[in-house]
């Protein structure tokens, strides 16, 4: 029983990591007042890039770096279009997702029948061998720890640094921020690139750690769930972790459900994470009612153009 328990906890953690990365990145982007609906596209491009580099060079660090660069490059398209060419953010984000899914499928067709070496967990001698606590605290892959670290860093940046304050100000009122001399477009551009990098790592985690294979469309809506997580977290970094664990938990329980003797068609169980997302969004709104309008960055999704 203990072993199963540990297995489930580990499974939940592994399922949450990509969501934590992608959602934390998107959270910063949305805090700067930009709505990037292209998370799914950026994730899957990260997934295929990481996979291809890992396949050819068998070097985890290099694969991750490649995934980050890939995520940033495709995010740069979005940044250029929405910030410089002033396009509609919803439409551009959707185009980015379609484009990312297409590019990854096109590139990945040669890699659909190969596997790579999984990025392994670090084992801390002595500590990892402790019963229960060992596997639960000390036997994750490095990216798991990195995802938590990134949440802390983003929180610190937003709440404890001057630049973080400026970024939030831009998200809440870009005209005022611009009027007192802050570079709205520059901040947003960098935030979008950061979001791309985070989505890239999140995607690479899927194809390098969760399952070391490439499957077309393997993100299966995780980018969209990450977007929902940002709303769920009411734009607060630490709440992203809570949300990600809930969604990770649903995904894993659904896999284990049949083992527990739940006799329902697999299709209905697979619906759970998606239905859960809707359910959580609704209960959240019931609980905090009108307050949500206060926590949402006021300029979210609005186009900024300085007349000066």
């Amino acid at each position: 029983m203990n072993e199963l328990f540990v297995q489930i906890i580990l499974g939940i953690s592994i399922a949450s990591v990509p969501l934590i990365f992608a959602a934390t990145g998107e959270l910063l982007v949305e805090r700067s007042g930009v709505l990037n609906l292209g998370v799914e596209g950026m994730m899957i491009v990260g997934a295929i890039t990481g996979f291809v580099v890992q396949f050819h060079f068998d070097n985890a660090l290099l694969s991750l770096a490649a995934a980050i660069i890939a995520g940033m490059s495709i995010a740069a398209i979005f940044a250029f279009l929405t910030q410089i060419m002033l396009t509609n953010q919803v439409a551009t984000g959707l185009a980015l997702t379609l484009f990312g899914l297409g590019v990854s499928a096109f590139w990945g067709r040669a890699y659909s029948k190969v596997t790579v070496d999984r990025v392994d967990a670090i084992n801390v001698p002595g500590l990892s061998d402790l019963p229960i606590v060992g596997p639960l605290v000390f036997s994750y892959d490095p990216l798991f720890y990195l995802s938590i670290l990134m949440v802390i860093l983003v929180w610190y940046f937003l709440n404890r640094t001057k630049k973080g304050l400026i970024l939030r100000a831009i998200g809440d009122n870009h005209d005022a921020a611009h009027a007192i001399g802050h570079k709205v477009v520059r901040y947003r551009f960098i935030a979008i690139l950061f979001g791309g990098a985070m989505a890239g790592i999140g995607g690479a985690y899927l194809s390098l750690v969760q399952v070391p294979i490439w499957v077309e469309g393997m993100t299966a809506g995780r980018g969209w769930i990450s977007l929902a997580l940002v709303v769920f977290a009411s734009w607060q970094p630490f709440k992203v972790i809570v949300g990600a664990i809930i969604f990770g938990g649903i995904t894993i329980l659904q896999l284990h459900a049949q083992g527990f003797g739940v006799n329902v068609d697999a299709q209905y169980l697979s619906m759970l994470p998606y239905l859960m997302t809707i359910f959580v969004l609704v209960t959240l709104r019931i609980r905090i009612k009108s307050n949500t309008n206060r926590v949402m960055p006021s300029c979210l999704g609005k186009i900024f153009h300085s007349t000066q």
Binding site: L94, V103, Q267, Y268, T277, I278
Partner: protein, 355 residues
Amino acid sequence: MIRLQTRTDSSTLMVFFSPLLALILTAFSTFVVFFLAGVDGFGAFYVLFIEPLTSLYSFSEMLVKAAPLIMIALGLSIGFRAGVWNIGAEGQYVIGAVAGSAVGLYFYEVEGFWLLPLMSLVAIIAGMSYAGIAAFLRTKYQVNEILVTLMLTYVAILFLSAMVHGPLRDPDGFNFPESRLFHDSATLPIIWQGTRVHIGLAVAVILAFVSYFWINKHITGLQIKISGNAPRAAKFAGFDENKTVWLSLLVSGGVAGLAGVFEATGPIGQLVPHLPSGYGFTAIIVAFLARLNPIGIIFSALLIALTYIGGESAQITYDLPNSITSIFQGMLLFYFLACDILIRYKFVFTFYQRQ
């Protein structure tokens, strides 16, 4: 130094020039993609965009693919005008197809002219109800409709899979996850003999004109336009925002549901797991390419349908994967959105240092 200056009036010249520029840029980029993939650019280009127009068969197939795209895009364009983002038309399309087909299969071998209209009606209601979930959650709890409609799309596709594996599976089908083939009374009439072009195309074109007049000549159309362009003005004028949300989602859901049952009872002829082929998502591009103009949607749907057919033949001739189509569609939308900047702004070159 290049700087953007807001135009006082949107430029009429650019309204026509910008799509043209976008097309040229897309064509050029496609060339680069082919080059990188090691394919003869000119040949692939011909296969993608010209060849489908030279044979009667592929021309008719283009019309077959355009019909659902026109219908779904028309529905979506209503909501997009009002700032209501139904991204899950794919889900409503699937639910419409399942519900309509279920009726057809229930009356299996029953002859009657009433059967198809009944199936269509059920499909419309099913699509409306499915989109209605998002409308309810948005108006009652301010839950974002983008996320709800999208999540429901995944649910719908899984539901379709459960249905063709279970209750709607062909009893004599050797356990294949497919429904029975529809009998004659449940099959869509063909309007161009010898091809698969069905009555859905005619319905789509009629809907385009209806929607054109609705948007431009009717008071609710005006309300929708204003809700999108100037939400505060709409509020002061006393337009009910919730009504707009409901209207947008019900219309787009209903039309998507109808498109779904047309696809199942027309070109496919049965319920299959691969029914959701991305029309619901592609229709978003179609709507934007047409700048949400109902008549424009007919043409942009034809253009996108052309890339589908072209993509299929490129797959055969050059062994290119089908995904080339979505890369192309994504790029096309990028360029269209970017080029539209020329309508609202003009580039001003300044050669002096500003103080």
